[in-house]
Amino acid sequence: MDQQQLTRRRFIVSVIALSAAAGSTLRPGLFSVSQAWAESASPLDDPVHKAMVRMARLLFPHDALSDDVYAEILDQALSDTASSNENAANLEAAAAALDRQSGDSWQALDEAAQIEAMRSIEAEPYFLAIQNQVRVGIYNGAAFWKHVGYPGPSKGFGGYLHRGAGDIDWLPEDK
């Protein structure tokens, strides 16, 4: 990996780490740099990359979200930041451990067996790190927000006072 890639990867993961440490939100807009990454090659081998996209989905499986959403979160973690090498190493470690658990190819297992293999490594630091990054990526991400009808910050459009803050139509009548 060249120096420029390393630098780019360092930036984004430090943003993720910062937000994770804050236990709080991230602006999806911060990630627009990931477009640049998408045009360059992944540092992971193709099978490893595919396995990790699958694992990301099984971590937080939302049928309404496409594989691209999960892949982008991984690609962001692999772009640009001080800990990008660490992220790549975590993903490689997870993929190798899952294959070891499975005897051969974790990806070839059925879903229940894949999840069982993940459960066996869920206390590992590399697994927890990946889990945290995928959680931030999914739940602070535009795709999930759109899926559940959450529009994000409302200051820009003036809040919900006249935009449904009290709207609810299914509650039983007061007795």
């Binding site: 804050a22 971590l59 559940v148 009808g149 959450y150 910050p153 200051k155 003036g158 809040g159 919900y160």
Partner: protein
């Protein structure tokens, strides 16, 4: 207009901290013509700095200096923790000032009664509510009823609760006091973007400046209080933003750094005369640290709630704010709505897999509430200081020791059952509760008020038993935690204390 005072001016009252306690006592003194220098460790933000982004606001406002042990969640900024609070402002009830008499000794606790009564504080509750614009009081309308509140109210009625209210929130329900009405923007846990929620940053501090009797020094970290040979406080030594030390003389001093910093400052002010810390002849300084009993419940309801639309806390249930042994615990708790954005809900739910993701798929149907309840004082729940670790100021790193009392555990279990029943009564598809979800945002005790000097650090005015011109003006003075969110009581006590100080100064007793 804002004034500046000389470091050698020993006629000023020095107030340490600009939050609910420090900001209020500063303004109340300045309004009475008393000259005040307020030292605030953090920076001064403006409303333009408030964005709908909890991570960004966390970086801007949080007290990031190292602390060990039980986590706390406090602010280092002008306005202190009034920049990051719910705005929920219920009053204590009479029995809560008489905790020891009402509950008995409670094994393992250090419970005593407050040295003052509800009747004495009632006029100051009125003044505090009028100042803060608490909804449903003093002519202001109740708060807007959000969907999340309507769900809680409907469920609460079904399980037999009666005291359900959308009042008692210090967020403008109508424009008043030069600030707008709430627009239900949400995200206001991390600072109200329009100033509808009361914060000393844009109320007490500028009002104090307008009197011409007030100077705010930001980036000013109090390091030590000095005293004279007679044991009267003489000055405050503080570090400015560049780390340069200054000494501000004072006629009297009010400490309001929130419990951790208040303890540290008094502890760090030890001397030959006060070898265990300033005002610690009782040995109670830093002890009786209380955090409130907390539990958060989320429920997936049969229809949409969209609880992100509007304030996080928009109403409360007061039925459990009572003492009733038959529930299996002493003291009471308050139930309040709660709402959050998807990431925080995912972190709250925890874990991974279908169950976690499935809960989040129903984000638009989620309703939520939490409890805050009385946490009894214990001698070993305390703040101490690390033997060797020092922070950037060269001060010993605080260590917070906290263990939950069995009474708190029993209360929490009761609270979980009640909160879950509220939603189950309306056909919730799934409910989920997590204890101590807000741990560390309500901090009380450590310099408690007591009738007898051997039982506490401060007297009924928050004045140190040991040092006649040194006061504590934050939640550190709470004798017991009571159930309600502490800010209203901190503000009421600060108004009362300022009146006491100004009167004592006028009589030349201070």
């Amino acid at each position: 207009m804002a004034r500046t005072y000389s470091l050698n001016d020993d006629s000023v009252v020095v107030v340490i901290g600009s939050g609910a306690g420090g900001g209020t006592v500063s303004n109340e003194l300045a309004q009475r013509g008393v000259d005040v220098v307020c030292l605030e460790a953090g920076n001064r933000l403006t409303l333009a700095d408030v964005v709908n982004d909890a991570a960004v606001m966390h970086q801007k406002m949080t007290w990031h200096d190292k602390r060990l042990g039980a986590p706390v969640w406090l602010c280092k900024t002008v306005g202190g923790t009034t920049m990051r609070w719910s705005g929920v402002t219920p009053r204590f009830r009479d029995f809560e000032f008489r905790a020891r008499s009402t509950y008995g000794a409670l094994d393992g606790t250090n419970l005593i009664d407050w040295p003052l009564t509800l009747d004495e504080i009632l006029p100051y509750y009125d003044k505090a509510e009028a100042k803060m614009g608490v909804s449903g009081t003093h002519g202001t309308p109740p708060s807007f009823e959000t969907s999340n509140y309507k769900v809680m109210k409907a469920g609460a009625k079904r399980i037999g609760y009666r005291e359900i209210t959308s009042t008692r929130t210090a967020i403008n329900s109508v424009a008043r006091d030069g600030r707008p009405a709430c627009q239900q923007i949400g995200f206001c846990w991390a600072g109200c973007a329009i100033g509808a929620k009361w914060s000393t940053l844009y109320t007490e501090v500028p009002k104090a400046e307008e009197t011409g009797h007030f100077e705010l020094r930001t980036g000013a970290m109090a390091i030590k209080v000095t005293h004279d040979a007679d044991g009267k406080a003489r000055s405050v030594i503080y570090a400015d933003a560049d780390g340069v030390l200054h000494e501000q003389k004072a006629r009297a001093i009010c400490v309001a750094g929130n419990v951790v910093e208040t303890t540290r400052l008094l502890h760090n002010s030890q001397s030959n005369l006060f070898p265990d810390g300033l005002g610690n002849s009782s040995g109670q300084l830093g002890r009786n640290y209380m955090r409130h009993v907390m539990n958060l419940t989320l429920a997936v309801m049969p229809g949409p709630v969209n609880f992100h639309r509007g304030t996080r806390q928009s109403g409360l249930i007061l039925d459990e704010q009572r003492h009733d042994d038959s529930r299996g615990f002493a003291g009471g708790y308050v139930i309040e709505t709660v709402a959050d954005q998807p990431y925080n809900i995912a972190a709250f739910v925890g874990g991974w897999g279908r169950e976690t993701a499935g809960f989040l798929d129903d984000y638009s149907n989620i309703a939520g509430c939490w409890i805050t309840g009385e946490d009894p004082p214990e001698a070993d729940n305390r703040i101490t200081f690390h033997d060797t670790e020092r922070d950037a100021y060269g001060l010993p790193v605080p260590v917070l020791h906290y263990r939950e009392h069995a009474n708190s555990t029993a209360m929490k279990q009761h609270g979980v059952r009640q909160c879950e029943s509220i939603y189950e009564s309306l056909g919730a598809r799934r409910v989920l509760s997590r204890a101590d979800a807000g741990g560390g945002c309500h901090n009380m005790g450590v310099a408690r008020m007591s009738e007898r000097p051997e039982d506490g650090v401060t007297n009924r005015w928050g004045r140190l038993h040991d040092v006649p011109n040194l006061f504590v003006s934050d939640g550190s003075v709470f004798t017991s935690s009571a159930a309600p969110n502490p800010t209203l009581t901190i503000v009421a006590l600060a108004i009362r204390q300022a009146e006491h100080i100004a009167d004592a100064m006028a009589r030349r007793e201070l």
